[in-house]
Point group: C2
Chain length 201, copies 2
């Protein structure tokens, strides 16, 4: 059985990738996370694009472990903000990972933006880098629009204000299964599948 | 002597326009501000561009007063933020006009953005609208880059972190005369001058 490193310490992301691989019948791959690489130096995500960040993270992880490595970077792009918060989604309010502050700031910035200009999309880039120098990077997008008040408690980040196209619920009001089926991360992972299957063989 | 309305309640902007007109030898125009139009309903600036906002403000002002009206809208565009804060410059931190919060937020968002990607420009659009339906809109840009710490006490808004091209000082360390000569607002007003001269004649 070959090993594949997912460059994350997030247990939910590990579970998600294992679930996607299983659902798609990709067997023979053991997915391990960064917890198995205690000394891995996590570089800051300073790229200008989601793709840059995903490739940089996967490249570092493959180099540090000698394993094929998958990494992702994702965020929310808002049309009225010219595509921002984008790569700065997790630190939009100036500190890293303060979801409540990020969401409150975004709603404040968009307070005077009318409904017809509240389009947004969740975007995820996922990269697979092999120690031999192979590199694939894909992008999944989940288009929708932004509410004026948060709704729902599933999910995290900007989920409570994002309504996917064709939905009336926010992505924080969807079930995990519904979200897996449609979300930017799900789309990106499925685009990566043929390449993961190759690794498995 | 013909009258020209500058659609602002900001005394500094009135002085600036009078000074520019005088310096350029445009006589025969009396510049009045919105303080002479007590009932003027100030519409929120909800346009997608500086030009939209300047034209909307000048149009409202001309309609309300029967005078030719000049209005401007300006802000900071940051390359690493895809041109934002842009039209949201004055309310970037979510509340209108909190300069200190706006500046602190912007520095926090750009904390991991390296020096070579800190390009920015101050941008001003200025519109002249006449009651008969004439409309001119121009744009002045002042290119530069952003520091990591505020410096200087002249100016307002993002001046303390903006270093104009060819300068080592921030625009908050320049004199008012130096700023008038180069700034986005100065450039926009000078582009509008031929049209203001026509009005005076």
């Amino acid at each position: 059985m070959s090993r594949l490193l997912l460059a994350t310490r997030n247990a939910k992301k590990l579970t998600e990738l294992r679930r996607v691989l299983e659902a798609e019948g990709v067997t023979g791959v053991e997915v391990v996370g960064l917890d198995s690489v205690p000394e891995f130096p996590e570089a800051p995500e300073t790229g200008a694009t989601f793709e840059d960040n995903a490739v940089a993270k996967a490249t570092d992880a493959a180099a540090a472990t000698g394993l094929p490595a998958v990494a992702d970077d994702s965020g929310l792009t808002v049309a009225a903000l010219n595509g921002m918060p984008g790569v700065l989604s997790a630190r939009w309010a100036g500190r890293h990972g303060d979801d409540a502050a990020n969401l409150e700031l975004l709603l404040g910035q968009l307070a005077d933006v009318p409904d017809e200009r509240r389009a947004a999309a969740f975007v995820a880039a996922a990269a697979l880098v092999t120690p031999g120098g192979g590199e694939v990077v894909v992008r999944g997008e989940w288009p929708g629009s932004l509410t004026r008040e948060p709704r729902g408690t599933n999910g995290f980040g900007y989920d409570p204000i994002f309504v996917p196209e064709g939905e009336t619920r926010t992505s924080a009001e969807l079930t995990s299964a519904e979200k897996d089926a449609d979300s930017h991360r799900g789309r990106a992972l499925r685009l990566l599948l043929p390449h993961l299957r190759e690794q498995a063989e």
